[in-house]
Structure formats: C-alpha cells, structure tokens
Subunit: 436 residues, 2 copies
C-alpha cells in the first residue's frame, strides 16, 4: 500500500464514520447491480463507447486533476518510477478509452448457457451465467486501473467499489466523475461505479469485511497488499499476481530455443508477475547450456544467483545463491539458478518453492513434456514457450482484471467470464419430487 | 457444533499441540494429493469399489464402534432425533457402500478439457480440469458424511481432512480405518483420507486457517457452523446449505398445480435446506388460493405465519407473522406467508429476505416466468416445479458434497466438477513474446 495511506493512526475516531460510508456505498452498489444485471448487451456496449468518448472529450480536466496528484507526489519525494505509474498524458487517456472500446467489442458472458439437459422426469435444466453482483477492487498507484476495472465489471453486469491509492485520489475522482456522468445521462445508477475513500486504511478493512453486501474482493498490487487482503477478508477474495515462475531446461532441450525462451521469460519485462525468477537445468545438459545461458543473461543485465554447480559451470559472473533466493519474486533483473538431477527433482523443487503462477519446460522429449504438464500444478504450464505468455490479452480474452494464482473460482488470467457466477433455471409443468 | 465440542476452555494449553497436529496432517495430505492427482480413473474406481466391499465386510466392527457413540450420546441425554442421525445399521452401511459404487460409476472430471484453442501465433491453449488438492470438510453428527465426502473428494483426485463431530468419533475412526486399510493395500497414501481430532474446537480453527496447506474448506451443517467457518477462515471456504426458500404463486397460476408444488416444497422434508419457508401470493389470486392453501397446509401439520391479508383470507388457523418470520429458516412444519401486489413486489421481497438458495414461481404466464427467472438471483430458480428438486442427485450429478449458496466457484448443488480447479496448458515450438 502506498506511503500516503499510512496516516490511519492519526484519525482513529473516524473509523465508525468510514465504516458507515463504505457500507452505504456497498448497499447502493447492490441496488445498482440489480439494475445492471438486467441490461442487455447493446445497452452496456453503448455505455462503454460513450464513456470512451467522454474520457477523450474531457481529457483536459482529467489531466489537470492528475497534475495535482503528480505535484503532491513530487513534493513528497516519491521515486520517479512511481510517479511514472501515476502520470496520465493525453496519449494514455486515449489508450484507456481504447481499452473500454475493446471491452465493448467482447462477447457478453451474461446469459450464456453453460450446461443444460432434460432430466428423466421431463424437468428442463439450464445453468446460465449471471453477474457476481458487487465487486470490490483494491489497487495501487495506476489510475488506468480505475477505468479498466470499471469497464470490465460493468460489461459483466456488476457494480464496482474501487479503492485506489490516495496518491491517485484526484485523478481517480476525475475519472469516476466522467464515467458517472455518462451513467446518469443514460438513466443508469451512478452507484454502479463508486470510488471509496482512500486516505484511511480503514476503508479497505471495511470493504473486505462487508460480507453479505460485497460478493468478491480482488486485490491488485504487490504481495503485501494481496496477502493482507486475503488474510483479513470475510468477503470471498481472489488472490492475484504473485509469481515465482520457473523455466526448466530438460536433458533433451534444444539449446538455442531454451536460451531464447529463458531470456524472454526473464528479461522482457522483469517487473511483471509472469517473469521467470528461477532457472532449473537438467544435469545432463548443464555443461553445454549453463555457460551460454549465464553469458547471455549477463549481457542482458541479469544477475545470476546460482547453486554451487551453476557457480562452477557459469564462471566468475555467478553470485552464490542463498536459501531464500529460491522463494523470491525478484521483480528485477535477477534470477536464481540450480542444476537438478532429473525432471522429477525439478518438479519437486517447483512444488516446494513455486507460487503456482507459471512454469515452463523446454524439451524435445514428448514423455518429459507429458510428465511435466501432469506433475506441475500451476495456473499455467508452458511447453517450449515463454512464461511471458500468461496474460489475458495473449490468451485471447481481450482484457483481464488480474491473474489468479489460487485454485477456487478462477485460475490464471481472469477475463469477463471470471467476473460472473451462474444460476440454475429449472422449468417444469407442475413437477413435485416423490417422497423418499 | 455439538455439545461435546464445548470443552475447549478446559484445555487451552493443548492449543499448540493441536495446531501442530492439524498442520502435520495437512502437510501429509498435500503430499498424498500430489500422488492422487496422477491416478487414472481406473485406479480410483477400483479403490472406491474395494472400499465399498471392505465397509460391508467389516460392518460388524463399524457397528460396534457406533454402539459406543450411541451409548455415550444416550448417557448425555442427547435428543432422539440427534441419536437417529448418529446411528448406523447394517442397512445404512450397505447404503453408504452403494454410495461409493455410485461415485465410482460417475465420469472422472480430471483431465477434462474445458476450453481450448489455437492462438494466432500458433500457440496451442488448453484449459484442463485438475484436482483442488487438499479439501477440508467440517461437519456435524452423521457418520455417513465421513464416507460420502471421502469418496467424492478421492474420485476428484483430492486428499481430504475430515473434521467430524466428537459425538461420532468412534464411528468415524472405525470408518476411516477401513478406508485407510484399502488405500494401504493398494500402495496408496493413507494420508489421502484423514480424520482430525474432534474433541476440541481448536482443530476447526487450525484447519480453516491453514492457508497454503489447505486449498478449500467446506462446512456442512447448521447456519451457526457455516457462518463461524466462513467468518474465521483464511483458507477459501464455500458456504453451503442455508435455505430460506420461497414459493411465489403468480396471478395467473394454476391453483391445483400451485397447491401441489407448495405442499411438496414445504412438507416433503421440512428439515432440509431446499424446503420452502415463505409463501408469496399475488393479490389477484389470493382470495381463491389462500383459503385452500391454508387448509391443505394445516392438514399436513404446517403452521402458517401470515401477514394481515393472509390472516384475513386464511381464517382462524393462521398465526400472525412477526417481522423476523420473513428471515427464518424454520426447518420445521412452519411457513411464513404474505400477499404481494405484483411480481416485482415478490422479487423485491425475495431480494430483501432470501438466502439465495432456491425460489419457485408457479404461473401460466410466460412473461411472468421470464421476468421472475431474470430478476431472482438465487442458486436455483424453479418455474412450475417444487423447490425440493435442488439436489445433486435430482440434477443428475450422481452425488453431491453440498449445496453452495455463494456466488464464487460453485453455486447450487456441488458434484465432482465443483471439487476441481483448472490449469492452462500452453504448447509452443520455442515461442517467445514480442516486446511491448
């Protein structure tokens, strides 16, 4: 959570007031959700296009608000990287608007018949997709998440409670004002998209404990934020985006292919959750593979933290790994590396240290591929492909609200269907159930 | 939770020990789950049949253990109804064994390809069903749940941690011993099916907070148990089985059909969660319907708690409803009843008071049916059919582990597919993701 959120202790007396505010927002969101659930696709897509147009038309006021956030961040000595995440430009606002248009173009999941049958007694059974209801999103600095999340949840017929960072408060307020005006113009409830107070951490606590009012909470951010939300929530929560991803180079790997996949998995964008953090190399290929791998990783600016065998084969540039390295999500140009004696030693290592996000095997051996995909229990398992492909856009989902690393409800990239529930419709002709 | 569980305060010093015991069991279950995940269907079905045979063959020792539980329950003055739930007979053991054979006959959900496609870049994408891993079940008196839950979780490739009632401790221990011996005979890990200590409520607390070791907890029992588990769990939990179900008789209902459905929904088995607890009648049909409905309900032994209009039309036998009646799950031969002025007043009443389990409309009007099914957001919505049909067996699932009344992961009766997760398999030929 951002620095600016840490002023809770300064105003404990306001806790009841914040709770009342959050719960009132959630109640209004419930009423709005009941309306949204009945909107046909055409109406939702028209709203999304209108929101995109309004954002572009009103970009000047959004950018003016953003400048106030930027100025305050600069005054507070916020690092340049965080300020860049916070900054909006006319171009970025265009990109955000295009995101809404993309969502408008995606199929509507609501009403889809997932399963259906006619029972022996003639009852007709249909399992159909319905909205979740009220979705809470807890996130950090980037203001684009405000609009992305609002667009996706709206398309899936849900109301959304947005709890962003206080550092982006003015930007988020301006963005939600634009979206809310479009809802109001079309006679739709503005409570469908609400921004919660961000100056006090109590608002997170009250959001994630509003059981019965909020249907799901999705934290988006660093491991600390996600863990805090999941531990404290009484509302169902979906864990997202922590990735200690592995690349395993099998005995029978094509070395050139393995190098390409390793470099792409590690260095393409080291800060994202699908980046590789650990390299495992089969002992039979280690002597051939590791010297080249270490050289190419170093050329790409990556520090290799190796076990003794990697240190021996990789040369002077390898740093000795410590026990904790196997469990780290570096998020930086660092990688842990170990030599393993077999494929099952690799899958055991992954089971002991992995976060269940994405693991890749590079191999030409069909039996090794089959064994790896069966044994590795992660959201995504790649065979001869980069870990960087674990992404809603790459998977053809059109957009994603996050990447789930838990096993319940949704696993891997979450698109529109993952923002829905189902209900059973049963059609009879006066059917009653026999005794017994 | 049962009376005998309430001795926690007597031995607080044992808390650490119980935590260690639960966590050790969970770790062993994780290892067992990794083995179970790889078992092909044939092996799992053979184990289930062998378990069924062993239960029948060893029924005498199970029944002897059960007699000790019964004797203790009688000494403690346990009500006859609870003793009946606890009691096993040779016939009931046969029934439990047949349940395992039914599960063996169900399709194996594991490995099912849920979605799949080839992406524009040639990557092959498959979403396949995998086991959840380690499933915790917290339940009350009935010893049959021990075997039913073990069979279903095993078939779906999961390990199970069973936390039953202390009142059934000897029965459950005997049952799990039989199942464990069959696992051992076949070289499978006995940690796949484990009974947790039941004499201390701390074991529930440590089970539902073993995040990272247990993948899901499913409470089965009364509203108090379910609420306590869901509120305190840091492991994902699935809410089951609380039902304040409604029957709405529309203006254009067939009265005979409505009476049959109402009586079946209320009186077939009043203690189960799919029994109707509230009757809503459209004002245009109230004068015709209510006198007959009240008479038939009373003839079936049902007490009607009516609003003033129901009291007026239903005659002297109707008790005046109090505000709380609209929110009760009686679980008994009682029903709340109100006259509503419109279909939307009925759906508003359901939204305000329902538990999201099952609601039924009786109508000959296709527009009313369409409106009701769209507006009512419950796990199951019946049109001209009894609420009693919400059941895994009736829905053709073969067996159920419970009925989910929440919206995440599973909603309505949960069969084998609901005891699984998925993972994405991605097959490439050295694919790397372009920059950008």
């Amino acid at each position: 959570m951002d620095e600016a959120d840490r002023d809770e202790a300064a105003q404990p007396a306001a806790d009841d007031q914040i709770r009342d505010q959050v719960r009132a927002a959630a109640r209004a969101a419930r009423d709005a959700a009941a309306e949204l659930a009945l909107l046909p696709r055409g109406a939702k897509d028209a709203v999304l296009h209108a929101m995109a147009d309004a954002l572009v038309a009103r970009a000047p006021e959004v950018l003016a608000a953003n400048e106030l956030d930027i100025a305050r961040a600069e005054e507070n000595g916020t690092p340049a990287g965080l300020i860049d995440r916070l900054r909006l430009t006319a171009e970025r606002v265009e990109g955000i608007a295009d995101g809404l248009r993309t969502v408008a173009g995606l199929p509507d999941p609501i009403g889809e018949v997932v399963r259906g049958s006619v029972l022996a007694n003639g009852l007709q059974l249909q399992q159909v997709r319905v909205p979740l209801g009220v979705v809470g999103i807890v996130y950090e600095g980037r203001p684009n998440v405000t609009v992305d999340a609002a667009g996706l949840t709206l398309k899936a017929g849900n109301a959304v409670l947005l709890r962003g960072s206080s550092s982006a408060e003015r930007s988020n307020t301006a963005l939600v004002a634009v979206l809310g005006d479009v809802l109001a113009e079309r006679g739709l409830p503005t409570a469908a998209i609400q921004l919660l107070p961000s100056h006090d951490r109590a608002s997170v606590r009250h959001l994630i404990t509003a059981r019965g009012l909020v249907d799901v909470v999705i934290p988006r951010g660093g491991a600390g934020l996600i863990s805090a939300v999941v531990e404290q929530a009484t509302v169902p929560a979906i864990e997202t985006g922590v990735g200690n991803c592995h690349v395993y180079v099998d005995a029978r790997a094509d070395v050139d292919s393995a190098l390409r996949i390793l470099l792409n998995s590690k260095a393409r964008r080291p800060s994202v959750c699908n980046a590789a953090e650990t390299l495992l190399v089969h002992q039979d290929i280690a002597a051939e593979f590791l010297p080249r791998a270490v050289a190419e990783l170093r050329a790409a600016g990556v520090t290799v933290h190796g076990d003794p065998e990697v240190v021996r084969l990789g040369g002077a540039g390898v740093v000795a790994a410590e026990e904790q390295d196997w469990d780290l999500e570096y998020g930086s140009l660092d990688i842990a590396a170990a030599v393993v004696e077999s494929l099952s030693a690799a899958t055991e290592h992954i089971r002991a240290h992995g976060s269940g996000h994405t693991e890749a095997i590079v191999t030409d051996d069909v039996r090794a591929a089959r064994s790896f995909t069966a044994r590795v229990d992660s959201a995504a398992v790649m065979v001869n492909a980069s870990t960087a492909f674990t992404d809603g856009g790459e998977f053809g989902m059109g957009a994603e609200i996050g990447i789930s690393t838990q096993k319940l409800h949704a696993r891997g990239p979450m698109g529109l269907p993952e923002l829905t529930s189902t209900k059973w419709l049963v059609f009879g002709e006066g059917h009653v159930r026999p005794a017994g």
